[in-house]
Amino acid sequence: MKAGVLDVARLVIARDLRLAFRKPSQLLQPLMFFMIVATLFPLTLTPEMSRLRDAAPGVLWVGALLSSLLALEFLFREDAQDGTLEQFALSGQSLTWMLFAKTCTHWLLSGLPLALFAPIAAVGLGVPGEAMWSVVASLALGGFALSLIGAISAGLTLGARRGGVLLSLLTLPLAVPILVFGADATHQAIIGGDFGPPLRMLGAIAVLGVTLAPLAAAAAVRIGLE
């Protein structure tokens, strides 16, 4: 009896979570990277909190983007190398759905922890306490959209030389809308303005991403496996 969609999703998520927790250092690396990047900005700009506060949305979002680019390396590369990604493609189940499950797990392991961790960096950038929860919310949502878009570039660069740099080059232009709306949401939260509209735009992008990105990622992976 063929396995149902929920079983497939459950198995994929369980597998990736189990694998991640057997190599916990891999989980921490993107987080550490984010913290280092966030520290570099005060070092290179100014220790003055009022000026850092102005730069905070940019620092947080660029840091989050760079960190997620690092994390995207882990999405498909190992599975492609040991042949298990082929198993996904040959399973007779929807590759789109399986990759969506993988991407969600990837976000749970990289994007979400980063969003939860961000207040620590934000404090160092002069972000007021009242703004914190919207910082977390916007980074979590934006991180999810980034994972979705990144899955496409990760699939496309599977067979390419210097795939890591190429992955960043491909993802960055596509990530511009996420960065613009995400940084605006964070900025509005800091100055106490209305962060609703940009947050909603971010949500719209995430929804669009959910409907289209896994399809594109599956097509990209099939091409990459050739």
């Binding site: 496409i152 570039s153 080059l169 232009p173 596509l174 809308p177 613009v180 097509a219 091409i223």
Partner: protein
């Protein structure tokens, strides 16, 4: 049924090669003619703008270059999609040939934009939404060309870059919208819009003609590059020997 024979002809490399060889000079000649007339119209005939004086004449190169850069990206994406869906090798060759031309038009748009910015606002670069979006478009072109260069196998490179082009073209309107949103948030005192000045017909027709000229130029260059692409891709095929002798 006639459309299908036409479609099939476009799928045949030798036929397309012959078409490109025959038509490229005509497109090139027409482009040159239009360009000369448009330049005369824009640089000499058109009256100077009330506000910007003669500096506005940069628009005659800047705007058509920007439009072309976007049009070429779309053409590239359509050709790539055709190649993916109908598995036409020629379509992939067209997409590959488009990319460098489109990238150069983008550079031209950015360069002329910078040259226009200096007399306008005293700065070589302004984060005008259109210029910024143009810059992101350049990165999209680089990504496409980088992906093609990074994959050894031609067929795989074709398919992967085709997917990227399709994803990119869907993203372009979203990127443009987000950049305009971003720009509207940070309205500074001087409106830093690189907008075209209000134009009456005397000023407008050279602009439109220049756009046509650039489009013809693109067609000519595309056909020439396409021939080179076809020669390279089909180098082991038998029809090549006949063509080269």
């Amino acid at each position: 049924m006639a459309t299908w024979t036409w479609f099939h002809r476009f799928g045949s490399p030798p036929w397309v090669y012959g078409f490109a060889r025959r038509w490229a000079p005509w497109f090139g000649g027409a482009a040159l003619l239009c360009m000369l007339i448009a330049l005369y119209g824009g640089l000499v005939l058109a009256p100077a703008d009330y506000q910007q004086k003669d500096a506005f004449r940069m628009v005659y190169v800047h705007a058509p270059a920007a439009w072309l850069s976007l049009m070429i990206y779309t053409t590239m994406a359509v050709a790539a999609a055709v190649g993916l869906i109908w598995r036409m090798k020629v379509a992939h060759a067209v997409a590959a040939a488009c990319a460098p031309v489109g990238a150069w038009f983008t550079v031209a748009a950015l360069g002329t934009g910078m040259l226009w910015g200096k007399p306008m606002w005293g700065a070589y670069w302004v984060w005008d939404p259109r210029l910024t979006a143009e810059l992101v478009l350049l990165f999209l072109y680089f990504g496409y060309m980088g992906l093609r260069a990074g994959i050894e196998d031609q067929a795989k490179a074709d398919k992967a870059s085709a997917m990227l082009a399709v994803v990119g073209v869907i993203n372009v309107p979203i990127i443009k919208y987000s950049v305009e949103w971003w720009n509207s948030l940070h309205q500074t005192a001087t409106v830093m819009q690189m907008g075209k000045p209000k134009m009456d017909f005397d000023m407008l027709w050279p602009l439109l003609l220049m756009f046509v000229a650039f489009a013809l130029y693109f067609a000519a260059v595309l056909l020439i590059r396409l021939r080179a692409e076809l020669l390279r891709r089909e180098r082991t095929a038998s029809w090549i020997r006949e063509v080269l002798t």
